[in-house]
């Protein structure tokens, strides 16, 4: 690697990380000298110090596993129903013409606002949270599955026909493998939507894992703990996002 290449690569990263550290240090200084009220914004050093306490005393691992379990359950439901829905819409042309715009409209609707309705139907339980995640993640999976199946190259379908494949063989040997990368994009979007809504509803109904932790700490006015918990949720979200992004790249063929 040339010196200019290394500089070109590392300078932006150094600038980004450096700015972050500078901002944190500036914040610490402004709070220490009293320009920013420490009862509104806790010192970054206090937030960092609160991390071990929050992790141990608030049972973050168990809460994380609970949220992850809810997200996993919702994702399984989203994958099964969403992919099946996309396949049905692909199979029945008239049904697709009649309902595709509806599914797209549902994807744009603020579905999370239905959480009080779900509270009434499913009670204040994990089922409400899972169903909310499922509802939020369903539409993108249906749409992406449909998109992937519709985008299958004509030549591949013709090859299948020339081999006299049955409808089932045509689907499993040609259509589904060809659509898989796009389906995975939908699954990734569905998982992210589900996770956002799951943590959000946990926070709103004060039940479950990480979302509830933030709500509880905020209600106790544990400022440093609240900020630490928020940072933890952000880190988890970024981790999930990165993981699914890597997985998607691995699945996607090189363009």
């Amino acid at each position: 690697m040339t010196a200019s290449g290394a500089k070109d690569r590392f300078l932006p990263a150094a600038l980004g990380i450096g700015s972050l550290f500078f901002f944190v240090a500036l914040l610490e200084l402004l709070i220490r000298v009293g320009i920013i009220n420490r009862f509104i914004v806790p010192m970054p050093s206090d937030i960092i110090a609160a991390f071990p306490r929050v992790v141990i005393e608030e049972h973050v691992l168990q809460r994380f596993l609970l949220t992850a379990g809810e997200a996993f359950s919702a994702s399984i439901l989203v994958a099964i129903v969403g992919v099946a829905g996309g396949v049905v819409l692909h199979r029945y042309h008239l049904l697709r013409l009649a309902t595709e715009t509806w599914v797209a409209a549902i994807a744009a609707a603020p579905l999370v606002l239905m959480y009080p309705l779900y509270l009434v139907i499913f009670g204040r339980s994990a089922l409400t949270i899972v169903m909310m995640g499922f509802t939020a993640g369903l539409a993108p999976v249906i749409l992406k599955t449909l998109e992937g199946l519709l985008a299958t190259r004509r030549v591949l379908i013709n090859v299948g026909k020339s081999f006299n494949l049955t409808r089932s063989q045509q689907f499993w040997k040609i259509l589904f493998p060809a659509a898989l990368p796009t389906i995975f994009v939908g699954l990734r979007l569905g998982l992210i939507f589900a996770l956002i809504n799951i943590v959000g509803v946990e926070f709103l109904i004060n039940f479950g894992g990480l979302g509830q932790l933030i709500n509880e700490l905020a209600e106790r006015y544990d400022l440093a703990g609240t900020y630490a918990a928020i940072c933890f949720v952000i880190l988890v979200s970024i981790g999930v996002f990165l993981f699914t992004e890597r997985l998607e790249r691995w699945l996607r063929p090189v363009d």
């Binding site: 980004g16 700015s19 008239l94 049904l95 409209a105 609707a109 606002l113 009080p116 009434v120 992210i192």
Partner: protein, 266 residues
């Protein structure tokens, strides 16, 4: 022109043919769902009042729409979302232009926005309450935070897609920064801007309304959670219908105004 007409005709014919069956199927689906709903409502399989009859929901919808206090709450929510859109949209626009205009800044900071974007924004609500109080300020802040990310990322991405020739033309005319932004950048990236605003509006609406359901004494979100707390299910269904119609309608309207449908069609 002739070629365009030649291409568009078969497409128009293929869409025109299934129009009647599609409409009939849509009507059948709506009718079928209505019948199923009504049957569940009458059967009592679910808890009483959880699935009210369609007539009851219709009555609640009429009662809400003819109640002047509803418009006060609607106005409050609309005001909060509008302010949130202005703050979040303009700051997103400024940051997007900065990141899109500089390769160094983009590579240094855009990843942070990209990865923070999909985080559940509602978790910032306790902080917003501490910073801006329990009034409309914290709801506006929630909407603004939600709106900021899609607008900034869309504009940064859109700016990188601008034809370099247009930028060179602007520079050759010695346009200053303001002129470059207003005469070159923004007109050239109309679609990413509109798309960003459309996405931003959707998430600002969610952020503001969720904040209202959590802690507020006014706004549509407050009405929804109030209907839940007094177990007024017809009112809750009616409010959700109104919300979805507004959200989907606004989304479609912005898309049409910005010519996003033309992009899809082309």
């Amino acid at each position: 022109m002739v070629e365009t007409r030649g291409l568009s005709l078969p497409a128009a014919r293929s869409w025109a043919l299934p129009l009647r069956p599609v409409t009939a199927l849509r009507a059948a689906i709506i009718l079928g769902l209505g019948v199923i709903w009504q049957a569940i409502s009458a059967s009592g399989w679910l808890y009483r009042d959880v699935v009210p009859s369609l007539l009851t929901i219709g009555s609640a919808l009429y009662a809400i729409l003819s109640d002047p206090t509803f418009y006060f709450h609607l106005g409050t929510t609309a005001y909060e979302i509008a302010i949130a859109m202005v703050i979040g949209g303009l700051s997103g626009l400024a940051v997007g232009l900065l990141l899109g205009g500089s390769r160094l800044l983009s590579r240094a900071y855009e990843a942070y926005l990209y990865y923070l974007g999909p985080c559940p924004k509602i978790i910032f609500f306790p902080i917003m309450i501490m910073w801006f109080g329990v009034g409309p300020g914290s709801k506006v802040a929630m909407g603004a935070i939600s709106c900021f990310f899609p607008v900034a990322l869309n504009i940064a991405g859109g700016m990188r897609e601008i034809d370099k020739v247009l930028i060179r033309v602007g520079r050759s005319f010695r346009a200053n920064t303001w002129q470059m932004v207003t005469k070159i950048y923004l007109p050239a990236m109309r679609h990413p801007v509109i798309n960003g605003v459309r996405l931003g509006l959707g998430v600002a609406l969610i952020g503001t309304l969720l904040a209202e359901t959590k802690l507020s004494n006014r706004g549509i979100g407050f009405l929804v959670i109030q209907a839940y707390s007094i177990f007024n299910m017809p009112q809750m269904y009616a409010l959700l219908i109104i919300l979805f119609v507004i959200a989907i309608g606004a989304n479609a309207l912005i898309g049409q105004l910005g010519g996003l449908d033309d992009i899809k069609a082309s």
